[in-house]
Amino acid sequence: MTTEMLDEAAKARALSDDVLDASGVTLRFGGLTSLDGVALRMVRGEILAVIGPNGAGKTSLFNSLTGSYVPQEGQITFRPRAGGEHELRGRKPHKTSRLGVARTFQNIRLFGALTVLENVKVAVETRQRTDAISIMLGLPNARRDERESDRKAHEVLSFVGLGHRLNELASALSYGEQRRLEIARALATTPEVLLLDEPAAGTNPTEKRDLEVLIRRINQELAVSVLLIEHDMRLVMSVADRVVVLNFGRKIAEGTPGAVQQDPAVIEAYLGASAEDERALVAEVVAEREEHGAEERPDGPPGAAGAAADDEEGRA
């Protein structure tokens, strides 16, 4: 199975086509512009890192790609391996996930009262179609799906190295294990693109090394393109094929890790501009609050999101 997948990955690389292609993505919250015409091209099979100072709009970008936010402008095109093109802007989160774009969250969001296995099964089962009636009657297809879901969840969990903790509560895991469980949950939806939001945050050096290996394996063995937000530069430099740098909601640089490190604009962004830091921080905080407040859609109907967003702002 592994070699077959390796082949596939190689083929994908050889084609070097885009799996994600975003352009002109602009996202505003009230007066704050969180993303300003961001363009992002992701080649199939690569590991692309998005870096930038706090408040640069990285998480907003993720939320825009996965449907948690609806940017006011721009296109986000997803090209799955099977062919065809899908516009992701404005697509509901669960539909985006079904197309094959999975994500993790910066502040881990597991289903704490479910076990490790159940957490992953939830994800596997979003791809199943058995209806409630067959389940209630215990029809053969429902049983088959249940077995299949168990099998797949076991497989994914042993892939990330949690095979021995299946029946623990998700909330009982260590921090690093929770991160891996979140990745497992995302992988269980068999994504083509995996978005990792600061997977190394809060992990210790050993866990970081394990994570590095895991990201590589996901990329190579499962042929998943990985989009990575990360503050840990060592991790970024060692795993990323290419790096995109955001600052104040704009893309300021793009290229190989080595090239980006030398870019004067990037150095400037990380060292200078302290005066504007505060504003950026405010934007980030607002964005984070937004994320907490369920799927608020900034440009949705005036009621739902608008007022709720205001409310979140009020509590900020």
């Binding site: 007022a307 205001d310 509590r315």
Partner: protein, 307 residues
């Protein structure tokens, strides 16, 4: 229907609506600081009605009161209502909600507690004072005061509207301009930060309950003056005022006022057009419709940052 009919209905609606607005404030304030649907607020309202009756029974109004006497009696009733309303709200917070807050109970637990407290309180009142409707002792001669476009407005109606407007102005002032109000707003916005800044959350919550309770109590007295006092009187006005608070945007003080007034007027017109049987249907239909288009109410939910 003629213009004067419309005025008739409108006056009834405004009278009713201003009561709803005052009750709704109690819901909204508590929601603001605790994110709690205080289902038992309707019993605070009921207690206020009894407070008025008790105060006036103790002092036995003269049968043919002079103007000054009338004013005194009204004041007495208001005081009685405010006192008992505030007391019940205070007791409710101390006895039922504070232990729950200590253990970080979920909102559903709060809701069920509130429901239980509501059952307990109205039946207790029924047991204490008898399960019969009782009229408010006569405080004044309920004559026509003036006419608007051919619609007569009597003393009770005027009293209700004036008292309600005064209370609404007071609450708005208290919440937006006083130290107590800034405490309430701080806790409403972020309790954790507020407590780090030295705000005593328990005290703020207690005061919020008392403030809402006083409002509800006076509304209960006014309601009893208009109709009757009975141990079950809280339920329906309570639910409607609760709907009013939600309609205006729960947690939003001015929203509650607006919501109350709207539902009062809607109710009056529903009764006029569809008959008394449909009284509460109109209010809920409006509520559902509004929430479909503005899921957080007319003015959106926030305390303090009034629109």
């Amino acid at each position: 229907m003629s213009l004067s009919d419309i005025w008739d209905v409108l006056v009834l609606g405004v009278v009713l609506g201003s009561l709803y607005a005052v009750i709704a404030i109690g819901y909204t304030l508590v929601y603001g600081v605790l994110q709690l649907l205080n289902f038992a607020h309707s019993e605070v309202f009921m207690a206020g009605g009894f407070g008025g009756v008790i105060a006036l029974t103790i002092f036995e109004p003269a049968t043919d009161p002079s103007g000054l006497q009338s004013a005194l009696y009204v004041l007495l009733g208001i005081l009685g209502g405010a006192l008992l309303g505030g007391l019940v709200a205070f007791g409710l917070e101390k006895g039922a909600y504070r232990p729950l807050r200590r253990r970080h109970a979920s909102r559903l637990i709060f809701l069920i507690t509130a429901i239980g407290a509501s059952f307990f309180l109205y039946n207790l009142a029924g047991k204490m004072f008898g399960r019969y409707p009782m009229p408010m002792p006569t405080m004044y001669e309920n004559k026509q005061v003036f006419e608007v476009f051919g619609t007569s407005v009597n003393v009770t109606q005027l009293l209700i509207v004036v008292a309600a407007v005064l209370m609404l102005l007071t609450v708005d002032f208290v919440v937006n301009r006083t130290k107590m109000g800034s405490g309430i707003r701080a806790v409403a916005q972020d309790p954790e930060v507020a407590s780090l800044m030295g705000v005593d959350i328990d005290k703020v919550v207690s005061r919020t309950f008392v403030l809402g309770g006083v409002m509800g109590g006076v509304a209960g007295f006014l309601f009893g003056t208009n109709l009757q006092v009975e141990y079950t009187m809280g339920f329906l006005p309570g639910i409607t005022a609760f709907a009013a608070a939600v309609l205006g945007g729960i947690g939003n003080v001015r929203g509650a006022m607006l919501g109350g007034l709207t539902l009062g007027v809607v109710e009056a017109f529903t009764v006029e057009w569809f008959g008394d049987a449909w009284r509460y249907a109109g209010a809920f239909a409006v509520l559902v419709l509004v929430l479909m288009f503005r899921p957080t109410g007319i003015l959106g939910e926030r305390v303090g940052r009034t629109a």
